[in-house]
Structure formats: C-alpha cells, structure tokens
C-alpha cells in the first residue's frame, strides 16, 4: 500500500510569543492575550524586551516608564530599563 499526500493541507496551529513567562509582569494578563487596554492580540498589542531580558506588553512598559520620574528601571529586576535592539 502507498499513501500519497496531495496538495492543500489545511493545518491548524496556535501562535504564541517566545517569552520566558506566560503573563505580563505589569498587567498580569497572558502575553498571548492582550493588555487590558487592547482588544486584539498579536500585532496590535506586541511585546517588547529590555536588555535585562525581561519582556512586557509594549503598552504596559511604556505606561510604567512614563510613571517613573527619576530612573527608568525594569519593573522585574530594577535594573535600568533599556529597550533591546
């Protein structure tokens, strides 16, 4: 017997962020969902990484950095926050 796969395989997958945690440390919502201010996940509510390797929803970390008057520190490790290039 021979089995041949013909064209057009409709395959189902779910996407996820490659992150070291499941939830955003700031809003505590799942990374694969979106921050509390967003409706659509993924492109519309992306993650950003700091040089300290911690990551957050971009909207969350921006809000945090704006709320910090003196130093801009990572909410996780309190090292100075710098966006990873």
């Amino acid at each position: 017997m021979k089995v041949k796969i013909k064209s057009n395989w409709t395959a189902v997958a779910s996407w996820r962020w490659i992150a070291n945690d499941e939830n955003c440390g700031i809003c505590r919502m799942p990374f694969d969902g979106c921050c509390p201010d967003c409706k659509l996940p993924g492109d519309d509510c992306p993650l950003v990484w700091g040089q300290c390797s911690h990551c957050f929803h971009i909207h969350c970390i921006v809000k945090w950095l704006n709320s910090q008057q003196v130093h801009q520190l990572c909410p996780m490790c309190r090292q100075e926050w710098k966006f990873k290039e």
């Binding site: 041949k4 057009n8 189902v12 996407w15 996820r16 409706k39």
Partner: protein, 612 residues
C-alpha cells in the same frame, strides 16, 4: 313531570322556529313532508296557549326553566358546530348577532305580552354572558392548537381576549393550557427544536392575549424548566438564530433590541404612556418585575430560560468554532454580519472573543499568501502545500489536546512553515494541532486508488501501515506517541472505510483487498466530532474504551460485582499514556447503568454480566 313536558314541547317549537335557514322538503319540527305537516296549526295553538297562560300570569312560572335550558343547549350546539376547528375567523360579533336575532326573536314570540319586555332584556344579559362563557370554554379546550397555529389563529386569540374580559375563566385557561403544554410537549419524544418553536408561538400568542405577560409567565413555567434540563437547548436556539434562510428568530434578532434580562432592576420607573398604563393582574408573581414580563422580546425570553448571556454566547462561540474548523473556508462576510447583529443584542464585550476568532481567519489568509509569495520569489516550493489556520489560543475555546508524532515528511513541512512564520512575525512561533485540520490523501492498495480527506492524525495512522501491515495497538501508540484510547477512536475510521481490520483483539492489519473499486472519493468528516468536545463527551469516550475492557472481563469471568470491576479497570487503565485513567466507582456505576438501559448488560443479585 311538568318540566319534562314543557321541555319537550318548547324544544319542538324551538326547532320549528329555527327552520327556514336550510330549504328542506321536510319540516324541521315534525320531519313530515312540508305539505302534510300540521306544524303551522300547532304553532298557532302554541301561541294562543302561551297568550292564555300569560293572561293567567303563570306562563313564566310554567315554562321558564325549560326555556332557559333549551336556549342554553342551543347556544352550546351552535357554538360547537359553527366555530370548532376554525381559528382564523372572529366569531364574537357573529355570535352576538345570532343571539339577538334568532334566540331573542324566539323568546319574544313566546313572551309576546307587553309586560314581559323588561324581563327579556334582563334575560339577554344573562344569555350573552352564557354565550361568552360557552365560547371561551370551546376556545380554551382548543387553546394548544390555537397557540401552535399563531399567527394564523390571531382572530381566535383576540376573541378569547374579549371573552376573558367578560367572564371569569382566566384561572381555568391557565391551568388547562399549562397542563396541555406539559402533556403534549414535555416528554422525551419531542425534539428540542419543536418545543422551542411551540414556546415561541406561546410567547407571541399569549402576549396578544395578555399584554401584561402574566398568563405567559405562569403557563410556560414548566416549559422553561424542562428546556433548562435538556442538554441541547442552547445549541438549538443558537442554531435557529444563525441558520441560513429566514426564520422567526432571525427576524427577531434583526429587530436588534438590547437584551432585557430578568435581573435588570430598573422596573420601578415604568416607561411609556401613563394613560394606557394598566396595573399587573392580581395573579402576577410579585417577585418578577412587570417590565421583564411586558417588555422583553422573544430572544430575551429564550436567553432567560437560562438567565445568562454568557452561556448563550459561549455556545455561539463553540458553534462558530465548529463551523470554522469543519469547513475551513467559512463565509466570512456572513459570519461577520451575524456577529454584528449579535453584538447589538448581547453587547460588545461578550462577543469580543468571537471577533478575534474571525480576525484570526482573515489574518491567517494574509499570512499564508505572504509566505507563498515569499517562497515563489525565492524560487522555493514546499513539499506539501500548507494552508495554515493560525489561532489566538486565548480567544478560542480550549481544544482537546492530543499528542501525536507525525511522519517525518509531514513534520518537516510544518517546521518549514513555522520557520517562515517566525521570520515574518518576530519573536512569535507556532504550536501545531495535528488532530485538527484536514488533508487530502491518495491511498493506492493492490491497484485500487482511493482518495480521502482526513485529519493529519488519521493520515499518520494509515501511513504507518505502508511499511508494516500488522500493528499491535500498544506498539502503534508508542510509535505515534498518542494515547491508546485516542488511537482506537481514530482507527475506527479506517475500519469503517474497509482498509484496516482488528484481526485478533488489539492487533490491526491491513486488509488484503479493498472492496469498492476505481477512483472513489471518500470524504471523512472526522467522525463528525466536535473539535473541542465538551468535557462530558470526552469522558464518555474514555468510558467507551473502558467498555471494551469490561466486555472482555465479563466474557472471561462471567459475572462480577461493581467493586471488582472498578479495581480491575484501574489496573488496566493506569497503563498507557491515556490522559485520565481514573474513574470513580460512582461514575462507573452510572456508566454501567446506562449500558443496562441499552440492554448491553444485565444486573442480577448484585453482580453484572453480559446478556445471553
């Protein structure tokens, strides 16, 4: 004696009086040929007797009871013959006219004397009341049929409404219809859809009958309770709402009012026109608000069977998921249109998840074409064309996780696609769900070509039989790294297609020859199972696997008590990577009871055995 004589006498006259409507050659009074009939003489005598009795002042006393009784009988007979079975005509005016001309005409001819006029008009009032009552009784008897026939039966409903205002039959109506609904609808033989349709008819018709909604609330209470107990109610309602073509629920949906749920508590502020305001009837249940009874539309009423929007929306989400995953190219425009309508109804936030789901479909299409285009530009081509459906897992119902290792060539294609995806969408990757999706395969066996559309898991299983035509279930489950129970479930498809057979228990072999020849295209609707089967169904499937063990046990040991079966099952079930081997004794008992009901098992004096 006096009454009987009078009765016979007057009743004869009545019949005679009423002739003339139909032209019969026979006299209605004496049924003798009209020419030979002496009725006219009798009538003349009758009138003179009446006159003389009246002059003596004893006419009323002598004839009253008999006349009343005759008139009542005639009214009943007339209503029964005229109105029965026809709900599409209003009879109130007709009946009233009939009473005035015919019945009162006859009475006038009996009580012709001047001084009787006043008592006749009092009599008319009583007779009219009797007429309404009789008519209402007749309608109440047929009310179930009238309700089901709504809106065609609206005239009958309106008549009944008039009657209710003039009589005291409200309580009778409610008890009778409530019982009728219970007897006719609320048993296992009736489809949920039919019960729902009847309920919808009841909502619409009883709203007309009693705008305050109290009758509906009381009468349909058992229906709601019963629908709550049926597993498929929500599914049926949602299906009705979203099915193609016009239907009553869809019309309601398009009206697009926001939902009024029973827990909305702003009812003290009755809106609307104070001039037309009516208090709630005295039989209204004071614990529910007047507004919820009066104001809510059919969809609200249906949702209120459960009282929760969430449940409803979840069911819609499940159905949407089913549709997307079974058709793959669902009619996006249509789905979006429905979603918009449902959003008006159920609120934006409730349906947010579904919005993301539909967006995922659109996004997937874009990503697919981007990836194909990039490969074209690079002059590459994938071994197997993949059309990926990429889901935002947080927003979809949770899927049954099924682990499996796909054949290398399939795995390679998926990995290749994943790489392209990762390059396209930085820092993101894909988790494939091999038990979902669909692929076309061509099976060539001993010169016969067969085409199938199956899930990747099904394909992986049959591909394993290319190199080895005989597999032990345990062994195959090890190679594919999937659970034995899932494997068995999937193999049944290939058994039903006549490609595999279970030669000895737990050993599957490729058949020598495939029956059915030529290029046959067989579509496999993946066991028509829902991709995210409910926990209940999933459990049921697991228990089905246990059933094979139980049958084997009982074949060998003849009969066993519950606790022995339980202990032995646990020994079997713990082996293998099966997801949840544990089953409680209580659950097992429930399962075995169901097998007894299906006559697959017998329970005698504390032990179970197979029927002979």
């Amino acid at each position: 004696m006096q009454f009987v004589t009078c009765y016979v006498f007057y009743s004869f006259i009545f019949c005679y009086f009423f002739t003339g409507e139909e032209k019969s050659p026979l006299c209605e009074g004496c049924t003798i040929d009209i020419d030979d009939c002496t009725c006219q003489d009798i009538i003349d005598t009758f009138h003179s007797v009446n006159r003389q009795l009246d002059e003596m002042g004893i006419l009323e006393r002598l004839s009253g009871a008999a006349v009343t009784s005759i008139v009542h009988n005639q009214i009943q007979r007339y209503i029964n013959t005229t109105c029965k079975g026809n709900f599409e005509t209003s009879y109130i005016d007709h009946l009233e006219k009939w009473l005035d001309t015919k019945v009162l005409g006859w009475l006038n001819s009996i009580y012709a004397g001047e001084k009787n006029q006043c008592s006749i008009s009092a009599f008319r009032g009583r007779l009219l009341h009797f007429l309404f009552e009789t008519y209402a009784h007749a309608r109440i008897e047929q009310l179930f049929a009238i309700v089901i026939d709504y809106p065609e039966s609206e005239p009958a409903i309106l008549d009944l409404k008039t009657c209710l205002e003039k009589t005291n039959l409200r309580a009778l109506l409610m008890t009778s219809l409530r019982k009728e609904l219970e007897d006719r609808l609320l048993h296992p033989g009736v489809n949920t859809t039919d019960i729902l349709l009847a309920y919808i008819s009841a909502i619409r018709s009883l709203r007309v009958l009693d705008p305050a909604g109290v009758i509906l609330e009381i009468v349909s209470e058992p229906v709601r309770k019963y629908l709550r107990s049926r597993e498929d109610t929500v599914r049926c309602i949602v299906l009705c709402l979203t099915e193609e073509g016009s239907n009553e629920l869809l019309d309601e949906l398009i009206k697009g009012q926001p939902l009024i749920l029973e827990d909305d508590t702003c009812s003290d502020q009755e809106e609307g026109d104070w001039e037309t305001w009516m208090p709630d009837p005295v039989d209204a249940d004071p614990s529910s608000t007047s507004k919820s009874r009066r104001g809510s539309d059919i969809i609200s009423m249906l949702v209120n069977i459960y009282g929760s929007k969430e449940l409803f929306v979840n069911e819609y989400r499940t159905l949407l998921t089913d549709r997307i995953l079974s058709q793959f190219n669902c009619d996006m425009e249509r789905e979006l249109r429905y979603l918009e309508m449902l959003k008006l109804r159920f609120g934006e936030s409730q349906l947010h998840y579904c919005e993301v789901m539909l967006k995922d479909i659109a996004d997937s299409k874009r990503i697919n074409s981007r990836i194909v285009q990039e490969m074209d530009n690079a002059g590459q081509k994938m071994d197997i064309d993949i059309n990926a459906l990429i889901l935002s897992a947080q927003f979809w119902p949770s899927f049954r996780e099924e682990k499996i290792t796909l054949p290398t060539e399939m795995q390679k294609s998926l990995e290749e696609y994943t790489k392209k995806f990762e390059a396209l969408k930085g820092n993101r990757t894909l988790n494939w769900k091999p038990h979902l999706g669909m692929m076309k395969i061509e099976v060539e066996h001993k010169g016969t070509m067969l085409n199938f559309s199956v899930s990747p898991v099904h394909a992986a299983i049959i591909m394993k039989f290319q190199t080895q035509s005989r597999w032990d279930v345990e062994e195959l489950s090890g190679v594919l790294q999937m659970s034995v129970s899932a494997l068995r479930r999937k193999i049944t498809y290939w058994q039903s297609q006549g490609l595999l057979k279970e030669e000895v228990p737990d050993t599957f072999v490729l058949v020598d020859e495939v029956k059915g020849q030529g290029h046959e295209v067989v579509m496999a609707e993946d066991e028509s199972e829902s991709a995210m089967t409910s926990a209940y169904q999933q459990r049921e499937e697991e228990l089905q696997v246990f059933w094979t063990y139980i049958v084997a046990m009982l074949t060998n040991l003849e009969s066993l008590p519950l606790d022995r079966i339980h202990t032995m099952l646990r020994m079997f079930a713990v082996q293998g990577p099966s997801s949840s081997g544990e089953v409680s004794q209580q659950e097992l008992k429930g399962f075995l009871d169901r097998q007894i009901k299906d006559q697959k098992l017998v329970y005698v004096s504390g032990v179970y055995r197979l029927p002979k």
